[in-house]
């Protein structure tokens, strides 16, 4: 019997979007280090990570709800899903920080939310045209429409991650402007060693046997 490939965790999509190497370190190498940002993130999730149900004004709120999508091979957990009186699910993903993130980084959160929406559609058979990101510092929701483009991006990203996991190869570090903005916030920077570039290693190798270099 052949094992079915392991499903891709929903959080991996956000990691891949932020930096494929970060995704590889976490999901391929199972490496994780904390920094201030990750610890803040954990604090934000302290409540949502406790499974439970609440009902308020006809809306049933499920916390830490297991999610999956067999066809796409996705698995994970939603922070909060609100079930409307008609039964329509509405995912809410909690993030620390403010809702005024740089657009390209906010887009990674949108991708993760969209993947949750796809899972909920798969699980309940109900359409999920919209969800929200809740930013703990701003204490505001940002509503995200789950459009065709975002859905296609979920499918493509899941596929890219599966391919990376199957190959066992760690993607290279970010470079240039992206690296300048993203690496300093990454808790895995010490493992990743983005500054020890291939070019730097090769140059060092050239002079390794030269006593005067």
């Amino acid at each position: 019997m052949v094992d079915a490939p392991d499903p891709v965790p929903l959080s991996a999509l956000q990691h891949w979007c932020y930096c494929p190497r970060q995704c590889g370190l976490i999901h391929l190498e199972q490496a994780f280090d904390d920094n201030l940002h990750t610890l803040r993130g954990q604090a934000v999730h302290a409540r949502t990570d406790q499974p439970g149900v609440e009902t308020a004004r006809g809306v049933r709120v499920e916390r830490a709800l297991p999610l999956w999508h067999d066809a796409l091979g996705l698995v994970g957990k939603s922070d909060v899903v609100e079930f409307m009186p008609g039964g329509a699910p509405y995912p809410v993903e909690y993030k620390h920080g403010s809702r005024h993130k740089a657009p390209d980084i906010a887009a990674c959160d949108d991708l993760q939310l969209a993947a949750q929406a796809l899972c909920l559609e798969h699980m309940t058979g109900q359409p999920v045209p919209e969800g929200a990101l809740y930013y703990a510092s701003s204490r505001r929701r940002r509503v995200v429409a789950i459009g065709a483009e975002l859905r296609a991006q979920v499918v493509a990203t899941a596929q890219a991650i599966r391919q990376m996991l199957a190959s066992g190869e760690l993607p290279p570090p970010l470079a240039g402007e992206q690296a300048a903005r993203r690496c300093k916030g990454c808790s895995l920077i010490d493992r990743c060693q983005p500054l020890a570039t291939r070019a730097g290693l090769d140059a060092a190798r050239q002079t390794l046997f030269d006593p005067d270099a």
Partner: protein, 342 residues
């Protein structure tokens, strides 16, 4: 990356236990020390030190390494939590071991790192030498090491490589005698490196310091997910941490420099060593503490790492190098580069 403390327990008969979020050291039921666990990256026990099972559980949970050494600092055992190792990395490591080109290249890099750092020690000694004659002798030995370094690319087998390394080591150790302060030379002369057992005080001190570095290198490799036994330069032998020995080569000159400092500042004297019948020499128990404290202090020194373009404490360099080694193992195009000081 943060350099956390390693707690070295050298006190005979000490008992370590968990006390809420701290580790408590007791001797005859009297508390001698309390350390918050979040300050620790490792607990290293020498010889007869006891510890409670609840403490072991907690150390495993927190990812704090527990290492047991014998009285002389030789490795006995290590307790590790569940989060350790990486099977894919180890698989790649074993594939690399079967790849003669990679093995030789990496072994060469390790030897180059050692020779370059040894040469720095001699050159610095030459600059600070009190007599012209000694400065000239040290410069000559440094030049010999430069020749060994240049010979490395042509060494086409591990045996050839080990030959170059052995010759360089012989020259280097003969030079180390000249770096001992003249009035300490009678007590601390060495006639080449001896071990198992060390036959003179200098060698006894080096053996102890190497054991400390070795332990840190082994821990660093394990933290990076590599198998410390599967080395490239050192021959594989059951029970031998060959990769830790490989990684350690570039750090040996750091141990040598610390040994010289301890001798030249008279932090260690003849009474700190025991000479046994027949000539074996060991470090006296009280002196071990002096060495361990000096070693811990030295690890706090900030140094600049050329490849990472950052300064970091010396104590973290083994971990950085272990990660570079892991990268070389995983990524066929990223060569291993040892840590070389300017």
């Amino acid at each position: 990356m943060q350099l956390l403390n390693t707690l070295y327990v050298t006190l005979e008969g000490a008992w370590l236990r968990l006390d809420n979020d701290t580790l408590r050291v007791e001797v005859e039921r009297e508390t001698r020390l309390r350390v918050p666990l979040h300050h620790l990256s490792a607990v290293v026990c020498f010889g007869h030190v006891g510890l409670s099972a609840p403490l072991m559980h907690r150390l495993a949970d927190e990812g704090i390494a527990l290492v047991l050494l014998d009285d002389n600092g030789r490795y006995k055992a290590r307790l590790e939590g569940a989060m350790s190792g990486n099977v894919l990395l180890r698989q790649a490591q074993f594939q690399r071991l079967a790849d003669a080109t990679f093995t030789l290249d990496t072994a060469r890099a390790c030897v180059a790192g050692k020779i370059k750092n040894c040469r720095q020690v001699l050159q610095r000694g030459a600059r600070e030498a009190k007599s012209e004659q000694e400065a000239a002798a040290l410069t000559r030995l440094a030049d010999d090491l430069a020749a060994s370094l240049r010979a490395l690319p042509a060494a086409d087998s591990l045996d050839a490589l080990r030959g170059v390394e052995g010759e360089a080591a012989r020259q280097y150790f003969s030079g180390l005698n000249l770096l001992v302060r003249p009035d300490q030379r009678a007590a601390f002369t060495m006639d080449g490196r001896t071990r198992r057992p060390p036959r003179d005080r200098f060698n006894a001190l080096l053996s102890f310091l190497y054991a400390m570095w070795m332990n840190d290198c082994r821990s660093a490799l394990e933290a990076a997910g590599l198998d410390p036994q599967a080395g490239f330069l050192h021959a594989l032998r059951p029970g031998r941490a060959a990769l830790a020995l490989d990684l350690m080569e570039e750090f040996r000159p750091w141990a040598d420099r610390l040994a010289l400092t301890l001798i030249n500042r008279s932090q260690l004297n003849t009474h700190d060593f025991a000479v046994r019948e027949g000539g074996a020499v060991t470090l006296a128990p009280d002196a071990r503490k002096t060495v361990v404290v000096a070693f811990q202090e030295r690890k706090k020194d900030e140094i600049s790492h050329p490849l990472l373009a950052q300064t970091l404490p010396l104590g973290l360099v083994p971990l950085v190098q272990a990660r570079l080694m892991a990268r070389a193992v995983r990524d066929s195009a990223a060569p291993y580069i040892p840590f070389v000081t300017k």
